[in-house]
């Protein structure tokens, strides 16, 4: 083989191995061709900030997918955290407070409370899956239904019954809606939260024993057990971390939207799982990277944003979105299918 040809085939190989990043770039180019004014800083910032809480949720779920599990309760847990944090962070002078006598709490207290609660539900998921060998699909489906019930009970209470929880405190909305001004643009704090969470998760996945154990359990649970991995314990911790992330994302959702209902977060898990898979996480476990998950979420968000930006009719948007998901993954699969 001469050098040139080799170089060519190397590039092709690289393209194949990174097809999903290539896809992301092509997608953006496609949208820009359709509508050149898509290429603006505002759109860029919008997409990033809209992706932020989704990245956090997707990273939580991706850990579970890498374990070889799944989590259908993610969206409902996000909703629970949103409702809890919103109810504890209403402005002091707001007329329809859930707790009329509650003083304004420091921001971190309700966020922590919400995270601890979803962390516990995550732990419960992990415990059921690892100790009773209930398939994760079922365990988390039960949890999804159950958590919705709990959220609804909490939500639908005197004095105002099942009313969306609004009137959030200034501190809370600042935390979730404002940002840092750089030049003429404001970069929402949300983006920075997502970056920080991504770095933390990257470290856990790549640099710690827990991370290695996670890949091992997902790659071959029997072999992991024989290799001295405490499978149950590690699984529970990964599910717990996912719960904590849902909790944090839920508070961000409440703050970002400015209100919360028991329906907040509904079905987020499907988007998150799909994004993770598009980003290269294997549903059979053992495979996945933080960069891939982030790319997957960005692809989804660019599709959502781009289609709306192009003014594609909503029903057509569904069809296009469905098709893009399938095509993206079909291309990604080519790299595995080359073998034969």
């Amino acid at each position: 083989m001469n050098n040139k040809a080799k170089k060519g085939s190397n590039i092709i190989k690289w393209l194949f191995d990174n097809v999903i990043y290539v896809f992301l770039v092509l997608l953006v180019i496609g949208i820009i061709i359709a509508s050149p004014d898509f290429l603006s800083m505002t759109n860029f910032i919008n997409i990033l900030s809209q992706s932020s809480s989704r990245i956090i949720i997707a990273l939580g779920i991706a850990g579970i997918l890498i374990l070889g599990g799944t989590d259908l309760s993610a969206g409902r847990q996000v909703g629970l955290a949103a409702v809890i944090s919103a109810s504890l962070l209403q402005a002091g002078d707001y007329a329809y407070k859930m707790y009329p006598n509650l003083p304004e709490l420091p921001l971190f207290v309700p966020i922590l409370i919400a995270m601890v609660i979803t962390g516990l539900f995550g732990t419960l998921n992990g415990w059921i899956v690892s100790k009773f060998h209930v398939p994760p699909f079922i365990a988390t489906l039960g949890m999804m239904i159950g958590v919705y019930g709990i959220t609804s009970i909490y939500f639908d209470r005197p004095p105002y019954g099942a009313q969306p929880i609004g009137g959030l405190s200034e501190a809370f909305t600042t935390f979730a809606q404002r940002g840092i001004k750089i030049g003429q643009y404001e970069f929402p704090y949300l983006i920075f939260y997502a970056v920080i969470v991504s770095i933390l998760i990257w470290i856990i996945w790549n640099k710690t024993q827990l991370g290695k154990n996670m890949y091992a359990i997902g790659g071959n649970p029997e072999a992991a057990k024989v290799s001295g991995v405490n499978v149950a314990k590690n699984m529970i911790i990964i599910y717990m971390i996912a719960g904590l992330l849902y909790g944090f994302a839920g508070t961000l959702e409440a703050g970002r939207v400015g209100s919360a209902t028991n329906n907040t977060g509904n079905m987020y898990e499907l988007d998150a799982i799909a994004a993770a898979v598009v980003g290269g996480v294997s549903l059979s476990g053992g495979i996945g990277t933080v960069a891939g998950v982030i790319t997957g979420v960005l692809i989804f968000q660019i599709i959502n944003y781009g289609l709306a930006f192009l003014g594609v009719s909503p029903y057509i948007q569904f069809i296009v979105k469905g098709a893009i998901i399938v095509v993206a993954v079909a291309f990604d699969m080519r790299k595995h299918a080359k073998k034969k």
């Binding site: 329809y96 019954g161 969306p164 909305t173 329906n263 930006f309």
Partner: protein, 329 residues
């Protein structure tokens, strides 16, 4: 098809028109689909209407508003998913000084007060419940002798609720029952369960209730017509509406199928929300706002003290069924 909006399909002709960004809380909501159509009709040739489907997700709607602002909307027409999120919408619009017309889902008064360019077009959220309650009370008084099966003077009812936490479901449930009581009629709730707006679930809940309460049910109240129809399917299966076996059923929305049922005496009544005028008023205000004019300029509408244009609900029974039918002309 005329149900779809957006700027791309008819882009050329709309160029140069001021852009109005609109979100619908759920495109396929049967009521909102009419409002949407009225909006599109009104917008033709006046503004470039950019419609978005928020898919019943407030977070999605917030994102769509970002997109609309990024695309240079001159005014916004927002059908909130969650009325309490109005403040966030206003905050976003305020920074760009873009007027906002909320419609159909009413934000808190304080939000409208806090931004001089925010208005509301629609009903009072409790009104559909109130009118449904009045309808029930009136019908009951007229047919008490037949409908009060156990003769205790009370209405033994079952209630099919929409999605819990949905503002309409909550308001309709509360105000329908409250209104009946206010009219001096005693009620007894046999069962209340959510059928999530869904006809199938309503059928199945009704199956269980008929089996359990048998003939002691005297009234079926549904938060929307879809669930009312589901209940009727179940009732028919149990032998109602043939011979002299009857059950009063009421809903909300005045969808065509419900009108048909009312004509066939399988439904007592429903509540019509005036889609045409809501859509029309929304766009007319939004157009004025987009052109930097006073929102009411050249329109037939009036603002009340809450900066709201009110379009009333109408009670529909067999007597005035034509009013309902006209809505679909």
């Amino acid at each position: 098809s005329s149900s779809t909006g957006g700027s791309s399909d008819a882009g050329k002709e709309k160029e140069g028109l001021p852009a109005v960004g609109a979100t619908i809380y759920k495109f396929d909501d049967n009521f909102m689909s009419y409002v949407r159509r009225a909006m599109e009709d009104t917008a033709k040739g006046k503004v470039n209407l950019m419609l978005n489907d928020s898919q019943n997700d407030q977070a999605k709607q917030i994102e769509q508003i970002d997109t609309l602002i990024a695309k240079g909307a001159k005014s916004l027409a927002i059908n909130l998913v969650d009325p309490k999120a109005a403040q966030t919408v206003v905050d976003k619009a305020k920074t760009k000084n873009i007027p906002v017309i909320f419609f159909n889902k009413e934000p808190d008064e304080s939000v409208l007060k806090g931004y001089d360019k925010a208005y509301y077009v629609g009903t009072t959220s409790s009104e559909s419940g109130v009118i449904q309650g009045e309808l029930i009370a009136k019908a009951w008084e007229a047919n008490k002798d037949k409908w009060d099966k156990n003769g205790d003077g009370k209405i033994q009812y079952v209630l099919l609720k929409g999605e819990p936490g949905h503002p309409d479901a909550e308001a309709r449930t509360k105000f329908a029952v409250d209104t009946i009581k206010e009219k001096g009629i005693q009620v007894e709730e046999l069962a209340l369960d959510t059928a999530m707006w869904d006809a199938t679930k309503a059928t199945e809940k009704m199956d269980a209730w008929i089996s359990k309460y048998n003939d002691t049910i005297e009234f079926v109240i549904a938060n929307n017509d879809g669930m009312a129809l589901g209940a009727i399917a179940s009732l028919e299966k149990a032998g109602y509406f043939s011979g002299d076996k009857f059950m009063p059923v009421v809903g909300v929305d005045a969808i065509p199928e419900a009108l048909e049922m009312i004509e066939k005496d399988k439904m007592v009544g429903t509540v019509l929300n005036d889609a045409k005028n809501q859509g029309k008023a929304t766009i007319e205000l939004a157009t004025n706002a987009a052109n930097g004019k006073d929102v009411l300029e050249g329109t037939e509408w009036k603002l009340d003290d809450k900066k709201a244009v009110r379009v009333p609900y109408v009670e529909i029974t067999k007597e005035n069924i034509q009013v309902g039918k006209d809505a679909y002309k």
